[in-house]
């Protein structure tokens, strides 16, 4: 039985790759490039699929870094591969994803789901003009919706997990509150959007740290270790606990199996990084530098997915309320987003090509 299952899913994977190849070719990607990337993909993608779905969560802590812009354009690129994609705006205070798609605020939103005016999440998925792309708009009107009760939040997460489509893209609100973090953590494909400016980098580091500590606090039940993690969240704690290494060391003194578990969590956490609004080569390199420094100091590897250049077309598309990849498909920024989409589907990190 298990064997059958494995074969079947391998078949699906193969079909998927062939499909990707064809679509990729149609999209003007070199055959060689595709072959290389496909042969390198060991089908991790299939493991990532949670009950048939792949969820991408897009966060980063800082408002205005381009999370929604990236989410919308990635969603469109992804929908062209023929899979059903649903974009969900989880910003429960200031939802605006519809504006990026040139739509007005829809009748049905997440607040209807939270307030039980509808049965399930399917009822709040609205159609867009783009084939295969659905949209769930967050709440704009409800003050209390920005801070849903814990119970409501988990219910919402269960709803999202029950949505039967190929891909779900979650656009997160700003900040590092538990509500934002818990949405971020529902996926194995955790994407961070960062702009090359100190404020954004500061928020990003705080965001990843908080997300990681939140995650491990959920998987570790030992009270003493939980306390140590709490201390780490307060970076100026008197015991000088700062990095996961400190936690692992202290946890190891309590129970070796817990420290091993923590090491494992540290290894698999792997958020993905996109640098947005890139103007210079230095900005591109910053992704590599962040990757290297964060791994060395904090022990968390990040996959550098790629960058999106800053160009006037991005600004124009937002002004016109038309998605960039539709309005300016030939722009440099569009090409960047296409590349990132492909890397995400193939689960391949960013490598410098010879053009550099």
């Amino acid at each position: 039985m298990g064997m059958m299952f494995a074969l079947q899913s391998q078949g699906n994977l193969y079909r998927k790759r062939v499909q990707l190849m064809e679509t990729g070719k149609r999209r003007g990607l070199g055959e060689e490039e595709l072959m290389v990337s496909l042969s390198g993909s060991q089908g991790e993608g299939s493991e990532e699929r949670e009950g048939g779905r792949t969820i991408w969560t897009i966060g980063g802590g800082k408002g205005g870094s381009g999370k929604t812009f990236i989410a919308v354009n990635l969603g469109i690129c992804l929908s062209r591969f023929g899979d059903e994609v649903v974009l969900i705006d989880t910003d429960l205070g200031g939802a605006n994803i519809h504006t990026f798609l040139g739509l007005s605020y829809p009748k049905r939103t997440l607040s209807d789901l939270i307030n039980k005016r509808v049965e399930g999440i399917r009822d709040v998925v609205i159609e867009t003009d783009i084939p295969n792309l659905g949209l769930v708009v967050g709440a704009q009107d409800l003050l209390n919706a920005a801070n849903p009760k814990d119970q409501q939040k988990w219910k919402l997460i269960r709803h999202i997990n029950s949505l039967d489509v190929d891909y779900i893209i979650l656009d997160l609100g700003a900040g590092s509150s538990f509500n934002v973090l818990d949405f971020f953590l529902i996926s194995k494909n955790k994407i961070l959007v960062v702009t090359p400016e100190p404020t954004c980098i500061e928020n990003t580091y705080r965001f990843i740290k908080s997300a990681f500590f939140r995650k491990v606090k959920k998987v570790i039940s030992h009270f003493g270790v939980k306390e140590i993690i709490d201390k780490a969240m307060d970076q100026r704690n008197e015991r000088g606990i700062k990095t996961p290494f400190d936690i692992i060391e202290l946890a190891g003194e309590i129970d070796k199996s817990i420290s091993l578990r923590l090491e494992h969590e540290l290894e698999i956490f792997r958020p993905k990084l996109i640098i947005n609004q890139v103007r210079t080569k230095n900005d591109v390199d910053m992704g590599f530098s962040m990757q290297s420094a964060f791994l060395k100091y904090f022990g968390i590897s990040m996959d550098y997915l790629g960058y999106v250049v800053y160009d006037d077309e991005v600004w124009q598309s937002i002004q016109r309320r038309k998605p960039l990849v539709l309005e300016f498909p030939q722009s440099k920024a569009s090409k960047c987003i296409n590349e990132i989409t492909l890397k995400l589907i193939l689960d391949k990190p960013f490598l410098f090509n010879s053009e550099g």
Partner: protein, 199 residues
Amino acid sequence: MKRIRDQTYYELLEVGRGASTEEIRMAYRREKEIFSSTSMAIYSLLEPEELKRINATIDEAYRVLTDERLRLEYDRMLNGLGEKGFSGEPLRTSASRGVHPVQEEPGGIAFPNGFRFTGASLKGIRESMGIDLKVISKKTKINRQHLEWLEEERFENLPALVYIRGFIMEYARALNLNPHRVVDSYLRSFYQWQNKRKV
């Protein structure tokens, strides 16, 4: 992944064990850029003290790996080879390979070439200067207990090599001694102890 203090110099510079001097030089430059105080990529990530320590470690990694003899010695340590390479005589390192038979220390004390800086000799130097360990501890911000262990060469109590290196360099500076010369000499005791432990 390991803490920076537990990473080998190769891991720290992200180069292979067989890296050429040129590769090491490039890697060094890259790391120094990433961890420079004005680097945006590490903005808000590190306290100034941590940043200083990391930079000192990167410098040290570069110094050791670009010096043929030091690198050989370091590799031997990593490989955990036996004591064959070592004799009781101290290895003449770049710091002690001067033309003059006697090197003048910044503090004005002259130590003959081949003088061995051990825990005991450092303690002797310190006491002859009339400096209390408390003063060193205050100056170096190194825990007094650690300083005592360094003087007693109680390596089993001390943290990893990179830390011992950093500690001894600070200690040497506090006594106005040439930190590189002292550390190269002192660590020979450490390597010997480490090799013995492996056997």
